[in-house]
């Protein structure tokens, strides 16, 4: 069995081979691990990996907006870290996601669009405020990354946005 995950835009491949004795052989990159599942409850498992004990909590959820599955893992006791992986998307999907880079502005935080100061076709100067996002009593101004023209306005006042969602596209004057 093969699983592909992404973490900070890097893809990781995990290969898992069930063994006759009920354990697994896991391969991540060049490393091989002998994995025994000592105890498994929904969202919680005790593992012995190459002789070392680990206690993991897991949860996963599919994003309504993007359809991407997010996997959350917390290792307690030994490593004390939380991780979030996403199921790796096909190359085509990823390309679509990044094609709008350059003058495109993404939401730095989740929130509500409380004010939109520009319209499509407007000429804007670098640093000019375009819209204001608000979440949890905090406001942030989204400003123009360069002098140019607003080619696309993807949100309107009152919209709720996710972190990373595209808000505006600005193209440089030619």
């Amino acid at each position: 069995m093969e699983f592909r995950y992404e973490h900070n835009d890097v893809e990781y491949v995990v290969q898992l081979e069930p063994q006759p004795d009920g354990t697994y052989l896991a391969r991540v990159g060049d490393n091989t691990y002998q994995v025994q599942v000592q105890r498994s409850l929904p969202g919680q498992m005790n593992l012995v990996v190459n002789g070392q004990r680990f206690h993991a909590y897991t949860a996963s959820q599919q994003s309504d907006k993007t359809g991407v599955k997010h996997h959350h893992v917390a290792l307690v006791d030994t490593q004390a870290q939380h991780y979030e992986f996403t199921t790796a998307q096909s190359a085509a999907v990823r390309r679509r996601g990044t094609s709008a880079e350059g003058g495109s502005l993404k939401a730095q935080m989740p929130g509500q669009v409380i004010q939109v100061m520009i319209a499509e076709g407007d000429a804007v100067e670098k640093g000019q405020p375009l819209l204001i996002l608000e979440a949890m009593k905090m406001e942030i101004r989204v400003t123009a990354p360069m002098t140019g023209i607003v080619v696309k306005l993807l949100v309107k006042q009152g919209d709720t946005v996710e972190r990373g969602q595209q808000l505006v596209e600005v193209a440089e004057n030619i």
Partner: protein
Amino acid sequence: MFKKILIANRGEIAARIIRACHERGIRTVAVYSDVDADALHVRLADEAVLIGAAAPSQSYLRGETIIEAAKKNNCQAIHPGFGFLSEAPGFARAVRDAGLVFIGPPAEAIEKMGVKTEARSLMEQAGVPVVPGFQSSSASDDDFQRAADHIGYPVMVKAAGGGGGKGIRIVHEPATLLESIAAARREALNAFNDPTVFLEKYIENGRHIEVQVLADSYGHVVHLYERECSIQRRHQKIIEETPSPFLSDEIRDEMGRAAVNAAQAVQYVNAGTVEFIVDENEKFYFLEMNTRLQVEHPITELVTGIDIVNAQLNIAAGAELPFQQEDIFQRGHAIECRIYAEDPANNFLPAVGPVLRTVEPAGPGIRVDAGVVTGDQVTIHYDPMIAKLIVVAENRINAIRKMEWALAQYVILGLTTNLAFLKDVMQHPVFMLGEATTHFIDEFLTPWVPPDTEPSEIALIAATLSEIAQAASILPAATPAEGDVYSPWSRMDGFRM
């Protein structure tokens, strides 16, 4: 004692107050906005009343609606918690006029402490040290210059009508004083329509230390010692501890007495906190009084053994304080970490999302005051503080160790939190030495980078095993009753209703 009270708040503090009431056999009524219909405080309370839409101005700030709900549901008192209506004198007065008890100070005390310049002169009269300053509406440039020389540089030019950091200038040398005053006046005129400015000494490397007080309705006031709150980001506290690692016993007692004087000067009743700024030479100055319960009250509870919310209920019901100042002392060392739904690697900007799983640490000396648990949602509408982790141990170093351990045990899956950042603070040498000032995070932990940018391969393996386990459990979970391991129908040992 009251039979039923309404809690005009949400989140962890509403849960804290509801539990304190239930301990005493007092029934509770929660209020909620439409997005909070399934929130923890609503689930905990005996009754709950919908008071409006998500925006606080449409719900948790609607004093009249809340008072109406209290009367309609036969409540005898209202606890405001902190934030929202807790420091609105108009609300405190309206509660009293409606024949109900406001669990907090009298409206008059809130009012006096609310106007900063009035509070400043009241404190001076009461012999409470205030930051050296100069104010006069008719002063000439020469007067300002002489005053600044007298106070000693650096000085702050502040707008009298001010707030929100507007109209403030820090002046390091006489040469720039007059132009700074002119600039501050322009800004103050624009922002507050009032160009009046005053001078105040700028306390460099200041520490934020506050003193908890309790006062009954018979003029008896005690203090419960200090809390050190210097670890802040965006002028918001994130870690508090008591005792302060900085104060000598002598100054600690002096600050306690000053806080009691401050409370007496405004005929204070119930729980309150007097905030001071303390300079490098242990000189302390009054900043303001928070006329309400404080977020960080649990650390004081853990070292003094006094349940402050319970004391609030007793005082509001007309009881006398059951102790004298000499009965109160600090035992051990307590630390609180505020758990925020935010991304410390991205300027501490708020994060939202479903809480897919929480596992709270437990053990001797560990307390969690949480506002969300597994299955709850953190939305964009309210404060990003979702829980408080509080520990107490025999001494400071053991408390730090315990906090590190407890942070490592705390599982919150589904949204980004500051857990890893808090752990970094605990392990920072400046914090461990007790030398952190209010600039600590800006100076030492900005920008912050998470400890490991590469994921643990063990965590990746755990993710795959969890996917396999989930896939395997889909068949037996075909009917809800069978899939629910907590359902009484899946118990093997028999049960009665």
